[in-house]
């Protein structure tokens, strides 16, 4: 409880700092918004040419796209500290976090609540609304709940991935691109329904990194589409749990990383 209060204080201070230069702050948000929305425009252009991809229409894909964008961007708002963990280790700053009577992870998350990453969040919300309107979806309470549950699952999933990336930097500062290919690669992959991918790729993103769980299966339930892969409704509803489990796996690995850091100090 006390830790939570401290987190909000630290986050609040970081926001204050970012808002100090108001013009540059708005420009950064705008820039990120333009970059990310142009990605979506590119996607839409693709559908102009093909009409559909593997039987999926533009607005169905847009719904997948926005759901994963929402999860990713929410997670990215508070994981900046994990992004910069390698630098903190290299410069020795991380030691400071160990010298304070609080969990190291909490302090890292409190390092910054990155407001400029709202650009992607805004883009996600806009695409989401466009998709809902164009698909003429009726959002009843159950669907809303499923939407929130899926987004929560993917927030957990991406946070778990960030934890894994930060943990890896306890061992090596080289080769972190590998992890980047999972986080950003996950974001890219999640934009399309799993069926467009090959079998082994689908399995990897269902059972190893459960991206399909937080995005594909639960969304089928929301869109009321029969799964071409044949999953049951119950499984679809429970699937986002995979993201939560993945996060706890990340947390476990993180703890091991901390122990390793204590024994090597670098």
């Amino acid at each position: 409880m006390q830790n939570l209060r401290l987190y909000f204080r630290l986050a609040g201070i970081s926001m204050q700092r970012q808002l100090e230069y108001r013009f540059s702050f708005f420009m950064q948000i705008l820039a990120q918004f333009i970059i990310t929305i142009s990605e979506f425009i590119g996607l839409a252009a693709l559908f102009q040419g093909f009409g559909n991809i593997h039987g999926w229409t533009l607005w169905q894909v847009a719904f997948f796209y926005s759901m994963i964008a929402l999860g990713f961007s929410i997670s990215s708002l508070f994981t900046r500290g994990l992004d910069i963990t390698p630098q903190l280790i290299k410069s020795g700053e991380l030691d400071r976090y160990f010298l304070r009577p609080r969990p190291v992870l909490l302090q890292l998350l409190g390092f910054e609540f990155t407001l400029r990453r709202m650009g992607r969040l805004i883009q996600g919300i806009i695409v989401f609304i466009l998709a809902v309107v164009n698909l003429q979806m009726h959002l009843d309470a159950l669907k809303l709940l499923l939407i929130l549950w899926s987004i929560m699952g993917s927030v957990f999933l991406f946070t778990g991935l960030m934890l894994g990336q930060a943990t890896l930097s306890f061992w090596t500062i080289e080769g972190l691109e590998i992890m980047n290919s999972f986080t950003y690669g996950g974001l890219e992959t999640g934009r399309y329904p799993l069926t467009v991918y090959k079998g082994w790729f689908r399995k990897f993103f269902t059972f190893v990194i459960p991206l399909g769980c937080v995005n594909y299966y639960s969304i089928l339930h929301i869109l009321e589409i029969e799964d071409p892969l044949g999953s049951s409704k119950l499984f679809q509803g429970l699937a986002p749990l995979g993201g939560v489990l993945f996060f706890f796996l990340g947390l476990f690995i993180w703890r091991m990383g901390l122990k390793h850091y204590k024994s090597t100090g670098s």
Binding site: L10, D95, R96, L99, P101, P103, K262, G265, S266
Partner: protein, 329 residues
């Protein structure tokens, strides 16, 4: 029981060797030889409550490693260490509540925040009770003379001002031990003197134990009741500065000024180092002749206006130690 008890701690690091050039770098991608570096080799010492211990050693001797172990950041490979009944690295959160750490080269304050807001944040981080916090903050502000820049963002402070704030920040939660890692590095002469006085006062008024690493021998002479010198992870010397002086067969120097201009000053047990007009610099070994006897002899032979006795600079003594001239305790 001493406040800090270190028993035979050892710590090794492994660094990977890489061969030169592109070929070596490519080879290194697949197999790497790693080299063991012994940072600490069965190091033992103890510190009593209220001491100011000077912790010296050349770069890479293992000073930082020791401080990291004592403050709970690092665990040793073997050996034991108790700080006020706690094993630092096993009980980190509980341990760090009772220590303060200042790194001269890094900051613990928030760069963009005014000093006072950094202090407020530290209150939250350490969960310091409100009245206790205000009392400490006010008395430290007073003692360290922080009032003029309490509302200035940290990034705008001079190094001397910042160091004072760092020390205040590390004392807000009433630590019983203060680790200072090169606190005077980069400071101007006046700021150094100020900082030394502050450390002395903190030690006296708060009864805080201070462990200080530095390369500045004036820090040591001004502050430390005891020094611990390590080299290559093992202790070279442990005792007072005076004891160190005595144990090393070091020459002392005497400067004299005569009433009249004379050609030369001569004494069979002293060597003339330099002369300039009526000023002469001699060196002698206290083992061969006592300082009193030498001065007496010189006064009999010459009419002296002034005498200055000099101890060899502590720097030279320490440098001798670093060079590997072991001193017996």
């Amino acid at each position: 029981m001493p406040q800090i008890q270190v028993d035979e701690i050892s710590k090794s690091f492994y660094i990977s060797k890489r061969k030169k050039g592109l070929k070596g770098a490519l080879k290194g991608l697949f197999n790497r030889e790693s080299m063991e570096i012994k940072a600490l080799d069965k190091l033992s010492f103890s510190v009593e409550k209220g001491e100011i211990l000077g912790y010296l050693g050349p770069n890479g001797a293992g000073k930082s490693t020791t401080l990291k172990i004592l403050s709970g950041i690092l665990s040793p490979d073997s050996g034991n260490c108790m700080v006020q009944g706690r094993i630092p690295w096993k009980d980190r959160i509980n341990h760090v509540k009772h220590i303060g750490v200042v790194f001269g080269q890094r900051t613990q304050l928030w760069w963009d925040l005014p000093v006072i807001e950094s202090f407020d944040l530290l209150q939250s981080i350490y969960s310091i009770p409100k009245d206790r916090y205000q009392e400490n903050r006010d008395s430290l502000t007073d003692l360290l003379d922080l009032e003029p820049f309490l509302f200035t963002p940290v990034r705008q402070l001079s190094l001397g001002q910042r160091m004072r704030c760092e020390i205040a920040a590390s004392m807000l939660h009433d630590p019983s031990i203060l680790f200072l890692d090169e606190p005077t590095i980069g400071l101007d002469a006046l700021s150094k003197v100020t900082l030394r006085n502050i450390i002395k006062k903190l030690n006296r008024e708060y009864q805080v134990t201070v462990i200080l690493t530095t390369h500045d021998m004036d820090d040591i002479e001004a502050l430390c009741s005891r020094i611990l010198v390590i080299g290559k992870g093992a202790i070279l010397f442990n005792g007072s500065i005076e004891a160190l002086r005595k144990q090393l067969d070091s020459k002392r120097r005497i400067l004299i000024e005569t009433e009249e201009n004379i050609e030369q000053v001569y004494h069979p047990k002293a060597t003339l180092l330099s002369s300039k007009g009526n000023r002469f610099e001699l060196t002698f070994s206290p083992r061969e002749i006592s300082a009193a006897k030498l001065v007496g002899d010189l006064m009999k032979t010459y009419s002296l206006k002034d005498i200055i006795m000099e101890n060899p600079p502590i720097e030279e003594i320490i440098a001798q130690l670093y060079l590997g001239q072991k001193v017996k305790p």
